[in-house]
Symmetry: C2
Subunit: 197 residues, 2 copies
Amino acid sequence: MSLPGSLTRLIEELQRLPGIGPKGAQRLAFHILKTPREQTERLVDALRDVKERVTYCSICNNITDVDPCAFCANDARDGTMICVVEEPQNVGGIEKTRDFKGVYHVLMGALSPLQGIGPDDLKIKGLLGRVSNGVSEVILATNPNVEGEATAIYLARLLKPLGVKVTRIAMGVPVGSDLEYADEVTMHKSLEGRREV
Amino acid sequence: MSLPGSLTRLIEELQRLPGIGPKGAQRLAFHILKTPREQTERLVDALRDVKERVTYCSICNNITDVDPCAFCANDARDGTMICVVEEPQNVGGIEKTRDFKGVYHVLMGALSPLQGIGPDDLKIKGLLGRVSNGVSEVILATNPNVEGEATAIYLARLLKPLGVKVTRIAMGVPVGSDLEYADEVTMHKSLEGRREV
């Protein structure tokens, strides 16, 4: 359809992003054509800044501008409780609850034999080192799916011999949902984890 | 949720793009964090190139790398037939049919009193100039909605006195659809435009 070469190239690059297909990429590219040059410059700067400035915390592997990260450097956080998550974006979900005052450890993935991800591909060694230095509880907050569950079981086996309390976040029916739509595995976990009222 | 400042800024900039909400922007930003630096550089270059290289054809207002555009500069295209569209992206849809061998004229919008877009905001003057130079037919391919229809009627009134044949693309039930789901205005246009078989 004979678009200018530079536009075709932008559409190709935009299509590489997750959740953006050919139609979406074309729509974005035409939008960018129309927007003022300064706005595109701000996007370009933001893209470059992220790649240049964001690094990973040398203690917990969370993303950060400064090393150690805001959680690890904060004395007000309880360093004896470590919450283990798969990805940096999982930290935000837990912080939103305002319930957790401890520190984090980001594994950078989960065990997945099918995708060829084994224990050596995850940041487990650092976690073991941290636990040896007087940690009282490790909360395993990996995803409630096959990979996350396998990772949690694997970590529990490694951590328990170190004499630390190891817990797993509760699985059950989500708040605000309808029991009618709960799948049987969730229902099973929900019954199994029932508590006296 | 205490993300690094540069990441927050990228999420904000991505949210300005059409069809990308807060969750989508966060997902894209985390994806960009993970991708190799070279891939982000290619995206950055493509964004800059589009803003620097793409201009509008001085004859038909279509987007182009070189002026005049590939359609206006191509002697194999029939310069006596002009297809009028609202936006540069509409040209692609007509080219895909391989039915049209004439040239284009991009209005850069449609009449819309509600949005304050009047005749002076559209590239109409150039069209009138072109039509005076021996054009045989003008096909009005503005959108089949209120604004496109109003624009077509307005242009027809301006063009007919110049002695040129003015046509409007057919409106009717789309091919492959089911009559059951056709709205009454489309059905009305479809009956009105019926042809002998």
